[in-house]
Chain length 264, copies 3
């Protein structure tokens, strides 16, 4: 049983952060909220998403047969029963949320029919869910340690990405001493953004840089349009982990992106 | 002889209500104003349009040879002479009106050259008219009686149509007791708008519903962008008549749409 | 050596006036400012451009080897050495300026590498210049005398051009007594703008008119989007010279357009 109410802007913002990486996926629904981990079709980028139950105005959840007093093995199973999987076409769901305007969204799961009943004001939408077993398995998050962290305003980051797309296909993100930089070289021209520590919200000084595919970073930058700041976790020729909060801090999104090999 | 002045916004609104159904057609011009009745190329939708002479800031009309004292047959003929037909490419005319901005529009008919001289401020446009005999005949309006009437805000109606287009090809409009509803089913999903009597401007309680092609209703909804309310006249598996006023009540538009057969 | 700072809006406005006619070209840079003269690929339209050094917030220029005390021939050469040629892809440069927002633009020429280093706030762009010898030669400006001059608001001129494009391919610009007019005839329709002397900023009375290709005038009208007034210099079956100021009067743009032969 799952029933919930949530601000439509918050829900849109959440789903938008997912569609930056994947078109469809499966939420894991527990009594503490919603979680998702998914990898893009090319296996280059990953999104980890988490939304706490208190991001909702109403959150009622009860897994079936989730009672108690069992032996260890049964407990483990009932543990897994305390979770529901919801397979969803996020792109379609985002379109539906766009219809409803600023009304609060009411959600109600019909587990047996595999439908999500979505009410926005006078509009009701019955969304067919996707069979979770038909969707890709949840990926494992690799263990990573990032020597350097940068917190930067989303707007300047997104603007630089848009500019870089006019110049080349790849982008270097790096820290050189107390300067964070983004650099793209095309066949003829070169674009570089350099921000000193005092122009950033936070910077761990260091000397790191990695090359990434602009396509993926551009996709990511579309998933954070309502966010004020993002955290970039960087290393030397290392994956990028880009973190931000949604739902006024009651939700978290992390994008993980594999680096490209630089030809030098 | 026809000479007139009219607010450009009003005239644009009128022509826009026609282009929702037809690209071209013929106005019947009399001393009481302008009328038109036309059917879409597929014979599924009809528009009836009427604009009173007092919607114009200036309205001078005199049919040729329209004098008097005749026997009954001649009178009938002079009757028909008290009318001018103006064949027009509405899409092109709407484009021209878009050029003129907010200036008042002056119209002057050159009946012999079959031109409509259109002046908007310092801009003059000479529009070639279409030969009325080359245009389709004016359709007869079928006699219809509608058991149920609903008056609804245009904005919610148009928004629901836009939403429904994402879901399916057809839409049910119906009244169930004191609730008006619009419902679209796609292959997977279902969208339903339900409005209670107190959420509408007017509702005749009843039990009716009919299925319509969304394409045509979507086209119609583009013809009423400046209108606040529309009246839906409904029956059971029956045509829809959608009425609204233009020109601050000095003009009337009716769309008539044939129902589709439901497969049950 | 060339180093400069300039308001980004001013620089964009200047480059935009060039891209109306040509995609690329060469600036002649002297200690008094920037000049350019270029012809469109079809040899129908020409642009003459001039930007004074005081349009810049900073302007440092020194041609190499530009010293002194030479004989006449050498002087002529040093004269030509007091000038630098900068070949540029204006379309690309305009795109770059769009990236930088409203920040001031810093320019620095690397003459040997043939790069223009462009800094806008925290963004740095290194633009590869084009080899001036690979670009078309600067055209000569023909000697022309215009009997009639009209100063007109840019907005009404641009709006009429947009309207005319819906009607035909050519446009007549003319003065008839104290009226300036623009007239386009299509196969069916005719559009005419007529403005009396008191509706214009200036008009030399006369009787002239010439026919021009709308494509070129439409392109020109895109180069003056930030300009309030333009001056039209007209004659009888004669070229059009269209002048306007940029950079708050510290820059001048002239477009010259060959007339078309009227078939009468």
């Amino acid at each position: 049983m799952f029933k919930a109410k949530i601000d439509s802007t918050v829900l849109r913002e959440c789903i938008e952060s997912l569609t930056a990486i994947v078109d469809e996926g499966k939420f894991r629904l527990t009594e503490s909220g919603l979680k998702l981990r998914a990898v893009d079709p090319a296996n280059v980028a990953m999104v980890s998403f988490e939304l706490q139950r208190d991001a909702f105005d109403l959150f009622q959840f009860a897994a079936e047969g989730s009672s108690s007093e069992a032996d260890t093995e049964a407990e483990a199973e009932s543990e897994s029963k305390n979770e529901l999987e919801i397979g969803m076409d996020f792109v379609k769901f985002l379109g539906i949320l766009g219809i409803g305007g600023r009304d609060e969204v009411e959600l109600e799961l019909d587990e047996h029919a595999q439908k999500l009943f979505t009410r926005m004001g006078s509009l009701a939408y019955t969304l067919s869910l996707l069979d979770p077993s038909s969707l890709r398995k949840e990926p494992k998050v690799p263990e990573l340690e990032f020597p350097v962290q940068v917190i930067i305003g989303t707007e300047v980051f997104r603007r630089t990405i848009r500019a870089a797309e006019k110049v080349g296909d790849h982008i270097v993100l790096g820290v050189d001493g107390e300067v964070f930089y983004m650099e793209t070289e095309g066949e003829m021209d070169k674009l570089r953004l350099g921000l000193r520590k005092d122009q950033l919200i936070l910077l761990t000084p260091g000397t790191v840089h990695s090359l990434y595919s602009l396509d993926f970073i551009a996709a990511m930058s579309k998933g954070m349009s309502h966010v004020e700041n993002i955290t970039l976790n960087l290393g030397k020729d290392y994956p990028l982990r880009l973190d931000f909060e949604v739902a006024e801090g009651k939700g978290k999104v992390s994008y993980l992106l594999a680096p490209r090999i630089e030809n030098e």
